[in-house]
């Protein structure tokens, strides 16, 4: 995000004044592809889309793979609810993405790149198109870049709103014009991706780090963040905090500092209850985990995920059962239906949570939820089904009492589960009638 807010995204000259395209020029005129990959490997950069896979390794696998043609794909299908970091980068600094894709193309041996972007991001699409046109006009994209003989072109493909298309194999199918459904892995896209050819897929935020790593060096990057997770992470902070927005911080920054520092604390000084980290497929962190360093390794150790960097903060007025039910409703809707564990599992998880929220739950339901979650995480075809039950695991671990209150006492202390709340008609107050919910 180093250029966001400092440049006019529709003017390539602004990007150039902030050392734009220097890294690409250096790479194609002074470095061999394998040297570029070594720099990225040494930097320790890990994928910022959620999985945290080492980027240099991914580049190396694609570089080594044999194919008649190779491709670079930027995953800009930012469908994770509560995440808008990639939108900010593409709207505010589109050339950083283009430059990185061209560098990646040179490193792995590709001449074509695709940006797969969610269709709702019309402003980002417009600015990317302007940026591509300007870069081509100046010879910074297209043929014979920096008189090196290296050619690279970038095409934009718009998604049509399916959450599952953020999964890399589904994304590739969508680019190919087929139904966006995940494929069995292996083979991995690094060996058999777009049209069966070796394909490098990186998240937008990951790519936005590339040019600056080339310019400043791997050591500089290593000095930021933690030992296992160098660099920064962009967080999208939303929910019951005073300041919602997007912030870039060193990896390993404690959750408390993000909420109290940038977030300005809780709205109306209410009590913090839970923060969901990583989007809908992320874990629910209770207040005893507020001092957890926010990086891939620290969160994985406690069964949480950093994911896309979404942070949805909720106060004491939210009901855990209601939150879990809402999340399962989302996954029930977004499951592509290809594999049974996900298609049926999400539906069953939702039904059981719905039952609990209506006061019809039994203790046995909690065991069933856990069993089903285990089955899904072990057998679902892709990350959607495997990760969907994360909120079930984490809420059962940290908020079991609240489930028990719903089941044993038929009580929802926050009043969110309408089936468990008795409302009585009282006198008019403030000119409004407070009616019975029935």
């Amino acid at each position: 995000m180093r250029n966001c807010g400092h440049i006019d995204p529709e003017n390539i000259k602004d990007y150039i004044t902030r050392d734009g395209y220097q890294a690409l020029g250096t790479v194609v005129t002074e470095l061999k592809p394998i040297e570029v990959i070594e720099i990225i490997e040494q930097s320790g950069l890990r994928g910022r889309g959620g999985a945290g896979f080492p980027t240099g390794l991914k580049w190396k696998f694609t570089h080594q793979a044999a194919g008649k043609e190779k491709y670079v794909v930027a995953n800009a299908d930012e469908g994770e609810p509560g995440t808008s970091k990639d939108r900010l980068i593409m709207e505010g600094d589109p050339h950083s993405l283009l430059e990185a894709m061209a560098i990646a193309g040179y490193a792995i041996g590709a001449n074509t790149g695709y940006i797969y972007i969610r269709g709702e991001y019309q402003l980002a699409i417009k600015r990317l198109k302007i940026a591509i046109a300007q870069a081509k006009e100046m010879g910074l994209l297209g043929e014979n870049l920096f008189d090196s003989g290296f050619n690279f072109e970038i095409k934009i493909r718009e998604g049509a709103g399916a959450y599952v298309c953020g999964e890399e194999t589904a994304l590739l199918k969508s680019i190919e014009g087929e139904r966006g459904e995940p494929q069995v892995k292996p083979p991995y896209p690094t060996n058999e991706g777009l049209w069966g050819q070796p394909t490098l897929i990186n998240n937008v935020e990951t790519l936005a780090n590339i040019a600056v790593i080339i310019r400043e060096g791997a050591e500089w990057f290593n000095e930021i963040g933690t030992e296992g997770c160098p660099g920064t992470k962009v967080f999208t902070l939303s929910g019951d905090v005073e300041n919602e927005g997007i912030i870039e911080l060193p990896m390993g920054t404690p959750l408390r500092r993000i909420i109290e520092g940038f977030g300005g604390g809780m709205v109306d000084d209410k009590e913090f209850k839970v923060a969901q980290s990583g989007g809908s497929s992320g874990g629910c962190m209770p207040k005893e985990l507020l001092d957890t360093p926010m990086d891939y390794d620290s969160l994985a150790e406690i069964g949480m995920t950093l994911g896309s960097g979404a942070l949805l903060v909720m106060d004491e007025t939210h009901c855990i059962v209601d939150i879990a039910k809402c999340l399962m409703q989302f996954f029930k809707h977004e499951s592509c239906g290809k594999c049974v564990p996900c298609r049926e599992g999400n539906k069953r998880l939702y039904n059981r949570l719905d039952k609990i929220s209506k006061g019809e739950g039994e203790l046995e339901d909690l065991e069933r939820l856990r069993d089903l979650a285990d089955t899904m995480s072990k057998t679902a075809l892709c990350g959607l089904g495997q990760m969907a039950p994360t909120s079930i695991y984490t809420t059962l671990k940290y908020f079991k009492d609240e489930y028990l209150t719903h089941i044993e006492d038929n009580n929802c202390t926050t009043g969110s589960c309408r089936g468990l709340v008795d409302l009585e008609v009282q006198d008019k107050r403030g000119g409004k009638d407070y009616g019975n919910n029935n």
């Binding site: 808008s84 900010l88 505010g92 100046m138 927005g245």
Partner: protein, 132 residues
Amino acid sequence: MAEVKRVKRTCELENKRINSLRELNDFKEEIREERVGNQKRAGVRITTAMGSCGIAVGAQEILEAISDELTTRGLEDISIHNTGCIGLCEQEPLVKIKIEDQPAVFYGNLTPELAREVVKNHIVDNQIIASC
């Protein structure tokens, strides 16, 4: 009323093609020098955050109100720019005012009326508005 000649940055590339790192560096220096010159001439720089979060809550209207106020007041030496979201989505619409040799000031949660006040108080009278 005097004709307003505000400095609006354009992106005319004039078939400029970069063939080497050296040409890129030369071009960068050329733009920087031009920018420094423009900035000194302008003295005041107004930057509006035009990400989709800003536009959704009226950044375009803020920009129009500021342009209109500048025209009405016949203010010529103003440099107007757009940028993307800076991450403070909660504070949108957001405008940055930078007067030469003074620290930059951000104004958030603007309305067209407040934006006109910012032009009057900060740019004309050089009085920072502490709270909008």
